[in-house]
């Protein structure tokens, strides 16, 4: 059995940051493995550990060389090998239509021919939440979005989809399939020192678009970044200022006025 996990290195923005033109300068950004993908990696590695048959877990990412550090972390957590796609054409795009991201991933998935693809529900940076389902459709396989429980049996996956308002949908999906994994489905492990050492020796292949038989024009999508701004604060909150003692006193008054502590 082969499982493909799509992962992304995402930028996190510092609390205090500035915007210059259409960019947030690097000094305000920190890079990490996308939180949702961390759960997807864990789900894949657990399947590999729990099954009697041989299971290969392959991670695929689209990202610059910098992202290899993050990908190595996935390898350290038990992913067997990784594929990184990057291309000069990609460095020039400011915002990539999620269906185009899916097209690039699909080119890798077609070569790997996995039995199961796990994706995070969304990326913490652009938050499109669309890549996994688009990928499934391009591969012409089944899918389920926002999965928070997963069991494999006899050519199908029995999943729970986390709907709004505390309702879960119980669904079965034919395999092969793409499942988009929600946070909370498991407890992602920390990489062990041994795992981190082993990860350095694991295969991390790098492909350009041409290597995947994709024309670089595939990234010429219809979307262009036209503006980046901090959302205008709509706050009309009364802010209590001062040390903890003073602010707590003010807060006490508000709470008692609202009936807290009235017995």
């Amino acid at each position: 059995m082969k499982i493909l996990v799509t992962v992304k290195e995402v930028a996190e923005v510092a609390d205090d940051f500035e915007i210059e033109g259409l960019e947030i300068p690097e000094t305000y950004l920190e890079y990490d493995l996308n939180e949702w993908d961390d759960y997807a990696v864990e789900a894949a590695v657990r399947i590999a550990e729990d099954r009697d048959e041989e299971v290969e877990v392959v991670a695929v990412t689209i990202g610059p060389e910098r992202s290899e550090e993050t990908i190595r972390m996935a390898l350290a957590k038990g992913v067997d090998r990784a594929v990184r796609v990057w291309d000069d054409a990609l460095t020039e795009t400011d915002v990539l239509d999620p269906t185009i991201t899916a097209r690039i991933l699909a080119a890798v998935a077609e070569r790997e021919a996995p039995d199961l693809v796990l994706s995070g529900v969304q990326a913490a940076d652009d938050g499109f939440g669309a890549t996994g389902v688009a990928l499934a459709d391009l591969l012409d396989v089944g899918w389920a979005a926002v999965v928070n429980d997963l069991e494999l049996a006899d050519g199908e996956a029995a999943v729970r989809r986390e709907l709004e308002g505390g309702v879960e949908e119980l669904t079965t999906v034919d395999l092969p399939a793409v499942l988009t994994i929600q946070t909370g489905i498991n407890e992602p492990r920390y990489a062990s020192l041994r795992g981190i050492r082993q990860a350095q020796r694991k295969d991390l292949a790098v492909h350009t678009l041409a290597d995947l038989a994709l024309d670089p024009s595939v990234v010429d999508d219809a979307l262009t970044l036209a503006g980046v701004a901090k959302p205008e604060s709509e706050s009309d909150a009364t802010l209590f200022e001062g040390g903890p003692e003073e602010t707590a006193a003010e807060l006490e008054t508000v709470l008692r006025d609202a009936g807290v502590g009235a017995e």
Binding site: A11, D15, F17, V95, D97, P98, T99, A102, A124, D125, D126, G127, F128, G129, A130, T131, V133, A134, D137, V141, G142, W143, A145, R160, E162, E164, G166, V167, E168, E169, T172, V173, A177, T183, G184, E187, D221, L223, T224, L225, A226, V228, K230, P231, S233, E234, L239, F240, P244, T247, A249, L251, E252, V254, L255, A258, G259, V260, G261, E263
Partner: protein, 319 residues
């Protein structure tokens, strides 16, 4: 001359249209006006006749019912929306950014080779469409210009007012030829989660804790505060994801909707998914170290500060 009509796809679950359906009509009408075309709505599955009557609000020109199945199925919905797109002459198809919306909208876009922009919070049309959306968990707002039409969009719930009134839409049944082999998923049922020792949706006072609590052992501090205030302890998603508190304590879109007299948010940034579950509280108080945290946008009172300093002081005052 490009196509000018707009199609919106209603969201329904377990016999009811979800509120975002009416918001979609408003957003769709806005876009159809900008393009100079008609507004079409469709509902796929469920009690489509009843749904169609509800969807016939002011400004809706046509409702297409697709009577296929009782509950949402993404394979059926994708096939139906794709077929409708091909039957109509559309400039845009607008879908909900709900859990189910995101379960078919990307497939609609890939199947029809449409550009896709999800989670729109505003749409502007002036020589072309510009979609406003958020990045980095609401810290940044981006405007995305879409150079081509037609386009596939999903819109965030709660951003557009619900359509009202009664329209004179032409309601018609749309037949879709669905190949059984294309149905690869089956919905087996639904389950309510989060039952347990306490129902936070009934609580009068809530002390709610988020990522700012940092470590599981620090929960003791907020438990102590909840005791001192005679309040119910709740949490935002990360705390429940970490397994530190059970699911029945989760406030937000995928958890419970709460409407207490007082909601004290400690170390909660106020992501849109969380706010959806607590904006109905009478008095919202936030303690957070980040002055730009979106929780302050809906708070009535706030302290920009460290919960580990404020909370012990507060416990002292109520013990």
């Amino acid at each position: 001359m490009s196509a000018t009509d707009v199609l919106v796809v209603a969201d329904h679950r377990r016999g009811e249209l979800r509120p975002v359906s009416y918001e979609l009509l408003t957003a769709g009408r806005e876009l159809a006006d900008a393009l100079g075309g008609d507004l079409h709505a469709t509902v796929v599955g469920g009690d489509v006749e009843r749904f169609a009557e509800r969807l016939d609000c002011e400004g809706v020109d046509a409702v297409h019912t697709v009577a296929e199945g009782e509950e949402f199925n993404h394979d059926v919905t994708t096939a139906a929306v794709t077929a409708l797109f091909e039957a109509l002459d559309l400039g845009a198809v607008v879908m909900p950014n709900s859990v189910n919306g995101l379960d078919y909208a990307p497939a609609v876009a890939t199947r029809l080779s449409l550009p896709l922009v999800t989670d729109a919070v505003a749409l502007d049309y002036d020589d072309g469409l510009t979609v406003t959306r958020e990045m980095y968990g609401s810290k940044v707002e981006t405007a995305i210009a879409v150079a081509e039409e037609p386009v596939a969009l999903t819109i965030r719930g709660g951003e557009w007012p619900a359509a009202e009134g009664v329209g004179d839409a032409e309601i018609s049944s749309f037949e879709v030829d669905i190949d059984d082999s294309s149905i690869r998923s089956t919905v087996r049922g639904f389950e309510e989660v989060g039952a347990g020792d306490v129902d936070i949706s009934e609580a009068e006072f809530i002390v709610s804790v988020g990522r700012g609590i940092e470590e599981e052992e620090n929960l003791e501090l907020v438990e102590e505060l909840a005791d001192a205030l005679d309040a119910t302890l709740a949490a935002s998603r990360p705390i429940v994801d970490n397994g530190w508190l059970p699911k029945n304590r989760q406030v937000g879109q995928s958890g419970k909707v709460v409407t207490p007299t007082v909601y004290l948010a400690l170390g909660i940034s106020g992501a849109v998914q969380h706010v959806a579950g607590m904006k109905g509280a009478d008095t919202i108080i936030a303690v957070n170290t980040d002055p730009d945290a979106p929780i302050f946008d809906i708070a009535d009172y706030g302290i920009v500060g460290d919960l580990f300093e404020v909370v012990p002081e507060l416990i002292d005052r109520f013990e």
